[in-house]
Amino acid sequence: MFHEVGGGGGGGGGGGGGGGVTDLTVRQGANQSAEEGASWLYTFIIGVVGLFVDLPPTMTSSIDESSKEKMRSVSVDLNHDASLLIDIPDALCERDKVKFTVHTKTTLSSFQKPEFSVPRQHEDFIWLHDTLVETEDYAGLIIPPAPPKPDFESPREKMHKLGEGEATMTKDEYTKMKQELEAEYLAVFKKTVQVHEVFLQRLSSHPTLSKDRNFQIFLEYDQDLSVRRKNAKEMFGGFFKNMVKSADEVLISGIKEVDDFFEQEKTFLLDYYSKIKDSTAKAEKMTRAHKNIADDYIHVSATLNSLSADDSTANKKHLEKLADLFEKLRKVEGRVASDQELKLTELLRYYMRDIQAAKDLLYRRARALADYENSNKALDKARLKSKDIPQAEEHQQHCLQKFDKLSESGKKELTSFKGRRVVAFRKNLIEMAELEIKHAKNNVTLLQGCIDQLKNN
């Protein structure tokens, strides 16, 4: 199933700009032969209409279900419950804004229709996340981390630089570099779609959160959600809450933990978070270096082609073969980079955020514990003064109940979280290793083929 955005400058709101028509028609199909396994190969046919002045172009992409299945690498066991199935089949990228089409299929009577789609922006997802976090009832749950803002800065900057350097390279080189960047752009786009989708699917597969009223509104409300989103005052409130939270972090280290399980979890999560954050950053640097190498191969291939064109001897064929080889090698290198990014960097990044969400749960519980301890102190004081004892007792009971509920739910959540994390790591590490092997074997075949050709000339 594919979706085309054709036509001239219209495309979308941001298309105007400085007289440049930036229209990308993206058609894409996914190759899924059995032996591909967990990897996905996309063939993109990109036709550029008009002057390529600035990015981002108007881009839409439709991704069919089975290929998305493969993309969904960081989380497993989602979206299998037929009572509520959510996906993002379509997305439109205009300038800086991405519009997601959220599609729901459900058998639940709480919804008005069995199947429906709504357009949503990134800010809508953030609103949903924040309302869930602020809901008292969910204090004992790990709220799935909010999807990060779509960030096209990197490929956009590179595209700009490429435009400036156009004069120094051959037409062929320029075209290939541009293709690479367009692919990178597309990859960022796909990643953001995936991350938003996973967020919703985490909610739909959670027994408690899937029933949330705001979640339902998010899925169903067919008007623009911006009216319901945070206004300035609320945003300030949210900001203030974050400030209080960091004060809590200090608080936690002072609280005497009564439960061994939570004590261990706290130590573990705090340490693990900093380590995984570091690993994510380092993995990202590795991927970038691979991409740079792929770019170098483009230049090498292009220059070899020029040399071949000027050559009138038997060497000409050698140079052609070599140019061809480097062109193929760079494609493999590019895939190595993107696979590594998806299976390793994205995995680490996702769980870094998930661990933050788990830490948030611990903070909430610690706050509840503090509240309980304070209520105890208040009760003692009340007993001493013989004043307001019933109130104090009630308050103390309330705090205790809240704390117990949080602890019980928290323990469950953290245990299942660990299980989820281990499964995801296993899956991705296996897939990454398999892909590395596959690409290396591919390289060997390409290289050996060229060597044999050169030797037998």
């Binding site: 261990q264 573990f268 340490d271 693990y272 380590k275 995984i276 570091d278 690993s279 380092k282 993995a283 640097k285 590795m286 970038r288 270096a289 691979h290 740079n292 190498i293 170098d296 191969y297 230049h299 090498v300 220059t303 070899l304 020029s306 040399l307 000027d310 009138s312 001897t313 038997a314 060497n315 050698h318 070599l322 080889l325 090698l329 660990k418 994390r421 281990v422 790591f425 296993r426 590490l429 296996i430 290793a433 398999e434 590395e436 092997i437 290396a440 074997k441 390289n443 060997v444 290289l447 050996q448 060229c450 060597i451 050169l454 030797k455 000339n457």
Partner: protein, 481 residues
């Protein structure tokens, strides 16, 4: 190598030994008698298409395909000393057909610091292994320093460049690099600098001796054989001789611009254009490969950093099996970072340095074309002067000055001799250049092919190692439960 021993291009390879044109051992090094193009210049008109066939740059079938040594990079040998043998392997060329063979191998090794402070220098051991009768023994070594190499080049250049021989350029000086070594910094970059220089010196010598004329030169023989060598002081970068050289170079450049030569020979025009293009493209390719080396090194560093980070993550992980898998991942990545480092070395020493060498060689080729122009200019100048003298003499006929007339007649005779010599020189340098260019082009094609194959094989090695490492990791990942 040594393409001068075949007949017309259409002869199949097997005919070599039976080919009566093939020169014998010693005459291999003679200049004119076995001149490949003797026929061409005398019997064929300058612009005839037949000539093109004889002078074509296609690979001469006199050379049988040379199979490179089958040694491949293995992980444990992937360190600098290995690369030295790798590169030397490439340079060891053996012709298989019966009869003449260039059997000579020079290695530059054992860099040793001599002296202290700013007067210190690196001494290199130059070992020659050969079976050729030109030498007294079949294996001998001497100690040489960098300025000795420069001195050798300087002498060869002054003797041969201006008559059209492509003298391989010596490796470049590096004040910064050498200062670090002198000052005694025993660090990574100094070691790399010394290795880079050692490798370059070796390639320089091999290219020099592969040239049939240069090999016979007494300076070359003395350089290789004699234990004591007078120091070449005029090669210092900041000496008066050095400054003089720079001034001369500048003057030459200006002169070149003002010479407008009537090129009657399309071959030279075509070749000059060809080398111009080649120069531009090779420089571009060199730049891209240098960038590749840089990025590969970066990848190695980033991988190492990631490995450390993954190890820490593994330590922090409380699920036992996952913790182990993460530690294994860290180990794999550490091995891979070494792999990338080795590949970066191969990128550099095989691919990048090859291109750098040829960029410099092409500058030498262009220089030789320039000398031809100068020779032509000299000839033209003499002709012009002769004409003037003749006109002056004609005028003197009508005056009554017998002394002056006689003097004029003498001068004319002398000038006529000069003009004839000028023409001979020009023809000679043109002939030499044709031969040299043909030899150079054949050498270049072979050089590239051989080294590129070696380079691709290094890439294969890296990929095969990657497969091994990831294959070993896979069960570890699967063991997570």
């Amino acid at each position: 190598l040594l393409t001068d021993k075949s007949g017309p291009a259409s002869l199949p390879a097997e005919d070599i030994s039976a080919n009566s044109n093939g020169p014998k051992q010693d005459s291999l090094f003679d200049d004119d008698p076995e001149d490949l193009f003797a026929e061409a210049t005398e019997e064929v008109s300058l612009d005839s298409p037949e000539r093109e066939v004889l002078l074509s740059d296609g690979p001469s079938p006199a050379i049988t395909p040379i199979t490179p040594p089958t040694s491949v990079i293995t992980p444990k040998t992937c360190s600098d000393p290995f690369l030295l043998t790798l590169y030397s392997c490439f340079l060891k060329i053996e012709e298989e057909e019966g009869g003449d063979s260039f059997d000579m191998h020079i290695s530059v090794s054992d860099p040793e610091k001599v002296g202290d402070g700013m007067n210190a220098y690196m001494a290199y051991k130059v070992t020659t292994k050969t079976s050729m009768s030109l030498f007294k023994t079949d294996e001998f070594s001497v100690k040489r320093r960098f300025s000795d190499f420069l001195g050798l080049h300087s002498k060869l250049a002054s003797k041969y460049l201006h008559i059209g021989y492509i003298v391989p350029p010596a490796p470049e000086k590096s004040i910064v690099g050498m200062t670090k070594v002198k000052v005694g910094k025993e660090d990574q970059s100094s070691n790399e600098f010394v290795e880079k220089r050692r490798s370059a010196l070796e390639r320089y010598l091999m290219r020099t001796v592969k040239h049939p004329i240069l090999l016979k030169d007494p300076d070359v023989l003395q350089f290789l054989e004699s234990s004591e060598l007078p120091r070449a002081v005029s090669t210092q970068a900041l000496s008066s001789a050095g400054l003089l050289r720079m001034v001369n170079k500048a003057a030459d450049a200006v002169n070149k611009m003002t010479i407008k030569m009537n090129e009657s020979d399309a071959w030279f025009e075509e070749k000059q254009q060809h080398f111009e293009n080649l120069d531009v493209q090779l420089r571009k390719l060199h730049a891209s490969v240098e960038s590749l080396v840089c990025h590969r090194k970066e990848l190695s560093v980033n991988t190492a950093q990631f490995a450390k980070s993954a190890a820490m993550l593994g330590n922090s992980e409380d699920h036992t099996a996952l913790s182990r898998a993460l530690s294994q991942l860290a180990e794999v990545e550490e091995k891979i970072d070494q792999l990338h480092q080795d590949q970066a070395n191969a990128d550099f020493y095989l691919f990048s340095e090859l291109l750098g060498d040829y960029v410099r060689l092409i500058t030498a080729v262009k220089g030789v074309f320039d000398h031809r122009m100068k020779t032509w200019q000299k000839w033209q100048d003499s002709q012009l002067l002769l004409q003037k003298k003749r006109e002056a003499e004609a005028k003197l006929q009508f005056t009554n000055k017998p002394d002056k007339l006689q003097q004029a007649k003498d001068e004319i005779k002398e000038l006529e001799g000069k003009v004839q010599q000028g023409e001979r020189d020009f023809e000679q340098i043109s002939k030499t250049i044709r031969k040299e260019v043909s030899r150079f082009e054949k050498e270049r094609v072979k050089d590239f092919k051989m080294i590129i194959i070696k380079y691709l094989e290094s890439l294969v090695q890296t990929q095969q190692q990657l497969i091994k490492y990831w294959d070993a990791f896979l069960p570890e990942a699967k063991a997570i439960s």
